[in-house]
Symmetry: C2
Subunit: 300 residues, 2 copies
């Protein structure tokens, strides 16, 4: 039995400057016990998603180092991009992996938010780590971005959980959360009309009465309209169900999905669910995958 | 660097008697260094597929023990079933896995065929291990099953590569081969009319001018017509291409595919190809799979 593992999937507000992005990622990589699993930078959103994993103390240290690197490399006041954002280290979710429970991830999130607060970041807990139900959903925490949050900070209901109750315009605030594994999945349309992507997003997302545990926004990315989705609970809505809903909404609007993109990682179970769905397989588990079987420990 | 690994995927002619099947599988499992990866028994075909892997000497020993167990447990003369068969240990292919080449697998096949010959099994080499081009394709070797082979044995062109040039009616012959990884994939139709399955099989298989590297037969299994496919080179025809051909041929005949079944194992690459195909993903590699990344050795 190994120690419980956690994943952190911070989003930071720089997707263009390769030098800054590398220095931020390298600072995290240098932390002992941290395994860097992914780095996805999006110049249009001007935003990067870093994925790293490890045991609790390693992931905690990686998050602290990351916050310091974002504060020294980035300046929110001069940042522009498609995506709503509240800070240089914008969102910092923790996910329980092997051996860890959601309660463990909540404890890690709160411990991290506390130290980020002491470093001058107003820190808002969200997801399973939220301290009030109206702060549970990330979209509510970051509604209208930095500017919206700046206005809400005067409201006693929107005091940060940790840190100063005022925003430093260079670094902004940070949302620190605990949540299940999330799959970020984008569909590129055969049109450059971003309104089509927005209409599809409104139709498929939970907040529009669409699919449960699906968040969606429409963007223009690389000359194509893109429906950008977060599937926040794959047991409620798996990848193929989300994509087929987008395909069918697109068809009704005279558009179609040209290609898709998986941002970051997906659990093997989500990959196998997708195969099972499209092939109509009676069953398909990790035990059907050659590599899983070759490398698992021998029978006792 | 670990030693080269091989897989053996023997098919033996018993799919109904759980006691006999277990004793045969247990004999192989008991061989040191052998990892049993799968056992799939089909009562209709009255046939089982065993999958095991390991280093060369372990897989060789497993195959010898298997042949002896089949000879002592089974009697071909009293065996009946849907599938053409030539012996109790019917087909014994070897596949090169990590670190092994096809030449390595050919050497292992020939070494095994030689010792099975000395144990009284007429052994026919096929696939990459074949000693003549007309014996390369497994369907040619086992054409018309035991009865057909019994007739052909008088022909000097059909002398076995090893073993006696006459058939013991209790154990029959064995085809020993080397080949790339094969995926066995079955589609169940919404009809019990086996002729529909046979018509689809004729249309999609390579021998009928259909898809390259696809073998297909139509069967009646569990009250449903089934198109049973072997995809013998996934680079030429991946799983989704084969299934879509079956779906489209079925539609033309007024039928449809109700469900599918993967027999044995599939390599992760084939799983990811399937997801990429149906989702229209721009890219998807093992590095996108969480479990692959969590358990790989750390960066140097």
């Amino acid at each position: 039995m190994t120690a419980p593992l956690f994943e952190a999937i911070p989003n930071f507000s720089e997707g263009r400057d390769r030098g800054k992005i590398s220095r931020i990622a390298d600072a995290v990589r240098a932390v002992s016990g941290v395994r860097l699993l992914g780095l996805h930078s999006d110049p249009d959103h001007n935003r990067s998603v870093l994925t790293f994993a490890g045991e609790e103390d390693a992931v905690f240290s990686g998050a602290v180092v990351l916050a310091q690197a974002c504060a020294s490399e980035l300046d929110l006041a001069s940042q522009t991009g498609e995506h709503p954002r509240i800070g240089v280290l914008d969102v910092l979710p923790f996910v329980p992996l092997e051996g860890a429970t959601m309660d463990d991830a909540v404890r890690l999130a709160r411990r991290t938010a506390e130290i980020l607060g002491s470093l001058g970041f107003p820190a808002f807990l969200y997801g399973a780590a939220a301290t009030a139900s109206y702060r549970r959903d990330l979209p509510d925490v970051r509604q209208a971005g930095y500017e919206g949050l700046a206005g809400r900070l005067q409201d006693p209901l929107w005091r940060p959980d940790y840190g100063p109750p005022a925003l430093d315009p260079r670094k902004g605030a940070v949302a620190v959360g605990a949540r299940p594994f999330l799959v970020a999945f984008n569909a590129f349309l055969d049109t450059d009309d971003v309104e089509v992507a927005r209409a599809i997003a409104r139709r498929v997302r939970e907040s529009g009465g669409g699919l449960r545990a699906v968040r969606a926004l429409g963007f223009a990315v690389g000359g194509k309209a893109q429906v950008s989705m977060n599937l926040i609970d794959l047991e409620q809505t798996p990848i193929p169900v989300a994509l087929e809903a987008v395909r069918s909404a697109a068809a009704e609007l005279g558009a179609s999905v040209e290609s898709t993109e998986l941002v970051g990682l997906a659990p093997l179970a989500a990959i196998l669910d997708t195969v099972r769905y499209y092939l109509g397989l009676r069953e398909l588990g990790p035990d059907h995958v050659l590599e899983t079987r070759l490398h698992e420990p021998p029978d006792a």
